[in-house]
Symmetry: C2
Subunit: 201 residues, 2 copies
């Protein structure tokens, strides 16, 4: 059982950086197996298909984020709007450190996969959508708290949260197009200027 889970996690560990730095279609199972030191038959003992592997990779990344600096950013001890600053900062430094090691801006794996596969695989699309929905909730809760504490004027927290998430993904996209994390640094802070007013009742 130990050895078993080890094989499985070695596969995932080999797949993660590859899917992140290239694309879903461009990474083959053979390559992953070679890198993980695993036979292809063994791969298919743990994963029924390539899609199931990428599903597991998405889960690992989501977990890594949620318990990592996303948890730090959305620390209830911080003033609400500072959490958003923190998140942008963290995204910037993360992308920057990846570029220093890897030579390239890799961007957000969820965004990358979304644009690549969501027209071709509804199961993957649903998985990625769930990730975004969770992220959206973090923004929404933060905005609601900021409004209730009179830190910002009232607004439509749900819609503004979605807008902020969209903006973050868009900034990462443009940064990737320029292969330059500094785009995040320049454009990121403007996320707090986004506002969607509450609909008149």
């Amino acid at each position: 059982m130990n050895i078993a889970t080890d094989t499985r996690s070695r596969i995932i560990a080999a797949a993660k950086p590859r899917f992140h730095s290239r694309s879903y279609a461009n990474v083959g199972i053979q390559e992953i197996c070679e890198s993980a030191g695993v036979q292809k038959g063994s791969f298919y003992h743990f994963f029924p298909s390539k899609r199931d592997l990428v599903l597991a990779v998405i889960d690992e990344y989501a977990e890594e984020w949620a318990s990592g600096f996303v948890a730090e950013a959305f620390d209830p001890a911080l003033p609400p709007m500072e959490r958003i600053d923190y998140l942008i900062d963290a995204a910037y430094f993360w992308q920057k450190s990846i570029k220093e090691v890897h030579g390239r801006m890799l961007g957000c794996i969820f965004g990358n996969l979304t644009l690549e596969v969501s027209t071709q695989d509804d199961i993957l699309r649903a998985k990625l959508l769930a990730i975004f929905t969770r992220a959206k909730s973090r923004f929404r809760e933060t905005l609601e708290e900021a409004v209730s504490k009179d830190i910002i004027p009232p607004l439509d927290a749900a819609l503004t949260a979605e807008a902020m998430l969209a903006y973050l993904e868009g900034v990462i996209l443009l940064a990737k197009a320029q292969n330059d994390p500094d785009v995040l640094y320049r454009l990121g802070p403007a996320i707090k200027t986004l506002r969607i007013e509450t609909m008149a009742p």
Copy 2:
């Protein structure tokens, strides 16, 4: 010569919707040739490689956009900020009509390709970056005009333009994740709330 250009443009015409609705890696040259009624040897007479084909496809899309509703949106006769409204509207209706025909939100082909290939091919990345740079300029010029006419308070037009472009791409990304163009309708108008102030001199 007529027949020649016809073959070439039939290839591009077959490739365009496929790269848009799926992805770069997922569309094969064989499929494109079959759909265009062209032999593979003939394909390689006109395009040295698959990359050169997608380069041509990007050019065609860029041309189609620039002379289509992007030209309409950035009509100098319109008040500057209304041009941005128009662009959002046009993007929404375009995505919506595609979904009605195709069943899926396909999003922005430039954004799609950027996230898929820009870590793997610097020539493609440069091409896509050039498209974004042109789009950014349209936004910037519009903002500069709005500022000079006292329609909006002074701001950093170049940075705000980039932020707006990022936001647009991000909104399209989220809409694609939900396979729902209405996301564009809900979030799009907030693009005008984005602001990046001029740096203190």
